[in-house]
């Protein structure tokens, strides 16, 4: 018998996500996958699912599920209001509901179920890539999501002591990118000293930052080149786009800097209106 959960409400955007589609960039296929990889991995670990099992990525809470069978669930990432099993795996009995309110801090909550969500993979992954339009469609009300068979024992962790996403100013470490020399020295100084604001024009593709525009030292056109998540690309507006999981495989505007990979997961929890400071780091 296939177990399942039924979606009652989705909130602003709920998608299925896993570890993504690595190694297919040469075909124009991006990595995608969970935006906050650390929270994703933790969620699967807490319910004893494989590290690449599919979970739900919920944007700003609002998801409601009903268990159609007994399942074990957990939420990680942004902690939502309500009776929520945050960082603490909890049985959800058949007929019981899980309702996520709005998160107190952070943006993205991960809902893992023991056994993982058993949707059909596309090109090796169950992740929805919103830019490329690959993978399962975004989750909608009345979706019945099949739950896979558990493969390994429950690890027996009652509660994972991890900090909630930050409120207020967020500081991220950055490294020079491949096209730092396409900008003036003043532009670099401005990048790593000014306070940016996260705009509402942000999604799984990237976070658009508002601030003092950065001035280019050269104005010729850059042939498109490959990039990875964490890239800070500077479009003609001079205001950075910080790329996340569904970034384009290649980009035609210069990448001035990269957020250090260990800090990129925190970018996935940035909320519109939050202040962001970028600080120069060393490899």
């Amino acid at each position: 018998m296939t177990r399942s959960v039924t979606v009652l409400e989705t909130g602003a955007l709920t998608t299925l996500q896993d570890a993504g589609r690595p190694g297919q960039g040469a075909l124009g296929i991006g990595r995608s996958g969970a935006c906050d990889r650390a929270s994703y991995r933790l969620a699967n670990r807490l319910v004893g699912s494989p590290p690449d099992a599919a979970v739900l990525e919920v944007t700003f809470g609002g998801l409601a599920l009903r268990a159609d069978h007994d399942v074990l669930v957990v939420t990680t990432g942004a902690r939502c209001e309500g009776q929520v099993p945050h960082n603490a795996p909890t049985p959800l009995r058949s007929g019981a509901e899980l309702r996520l309110g709005a998160p107190a801090s952070g943006l993205r909550t991960y809902v893992a179920v023991r056994g993982g969500f058993a949707v059909e993979p596309v090109l090796g992954s169950r992740s929805t890539d919103v830019l490329a339009g690959l993978g399962p469609a975004a989750v909608t009300t009345d979706d019945v999501l099949a739950v896979g068979e558990p493969a390994s024992p429950v690890p027996g962790i009652d509660l994972a002591p991890v900090p909630d996403p930050e409120e207020g100013d967020v500081t991220l470490r950055v490294l020079p990118g491949p096209r730092r020399d396409w900008f003036t020295g003043d532009a670099w100084a401005s990048l790593v000293t000014q306070s940016y604001t996260v705009t509402t024009d942000s999604n799984r593709v990237g976070v658009r930052l508002d601030g003092e525009p950065l001035e280019r030292a050269r104005t010729d056109e850059l042939p498109s080149e490959g990039l990875v998540r964490g890239a800070l690309q500077i479009p003609p507006s001079g205001k950075p786009v910080l790329f996340l999981a569904d970034h384009p495989v290649t980009g035609g505007y210069p990448v001035i800097a990269y957020v250090v990979d260990d800090d990129v997961d925190r970018c996935a929890q940035l909320r519109p209106g939050q202040s962001l400071l970028l600080r120069e780091s060393a490899l």
Partner: protein, 205 residues
């Protein structure tokens, strides 16, 4: 060859021209440095994405510098034939811009083999180049909001086939029924880097 930093997990190798990209990419696909999880060619660059747990950026940079480019790459890949109806909305205009007529443009487009240099823009969209294609087609001043799937197009030194409906600024010269990206097929993408392409004129509709 310049090795440029791309954060804590990747390196961007910048080369002098597209041929050097093809040669280095072919060599890296054959003999991928340890710990490299993705190799992404583009017009002048090759991006190497690493697994930081498996290697260091300095080790990968060193491996790339030691890599011998494969100069025999062009002409070695699988050949895909693309049957085209040359009736694109921009055919006459782009022929005029390139100082020839539509028939001459079609003759040149079908005259020689093309090679997929790299992919990008959307899954399965290949940027094709040809040794004998000497034309440089400007992009449209204003991109179309919807380009139909299967549209055969030109931009700059490149030709391409739109895998599915999408916005696009390339000049449309024809269309094909061939599905260049099909998730029900393995591999889904027909036009992978190194694949050779011959466009065949199906006659004007």
């Amino acid at each position: 060859m310049r090795v440029l930093p791309s954060g804590s997990t990747a390196l961007l190798v910048e080369l002098d021209d597209l041929d050097e990209v093809l040669w280095l990419y072919a060599a890296l696909v054959d003999d991928r440095p340890e710990g490299v999880v993705d190799v992404v060619p583009a017009a002048r660059t090759v991006l190497l994405v690493t697994d930081p747990a498996a290697t260091s950026l300095s080790a990968v940079a060193e491996a790339v510098r030691r890599t011998t480019p494969r100069h025999d790459q062009r002409g070695a890949g699988e050949l895909v034939e693309v049957a085209v109806t040359y009736d694109g909305d921009d055919l006459e205009e782009v022929a005029h811009l390139l100082d020839c007529d539509a028939a001459e443009l079609v003759r040149r487009h079908t005259a020689d083999e093309w090679t997929v240099a790299f992919c990008g823009f959307t899954p399965g969209f290949g940027y094709l180049t040809s040794r004998t294609w000497q034309l440089d087609a400007p992009r449209r001043d204003s991109p179309r909001k919807q380009v139909p799937p299967g549209s055969v197009a030109l931009a700059g030194e490149f030709s391409g086939v739109y895998p599915r409906e999408s916005p696009g600024g390339w000049q449309l010269i024809g269309r094909t029924d061939l599905a260049v990206f099909d998730l029900s097929r393995d591999p889904a993408a027909l036009l992978r880097p190194g694949v050779r392409v011959r466009f065949v004129d199906e006659g004007r509709a």
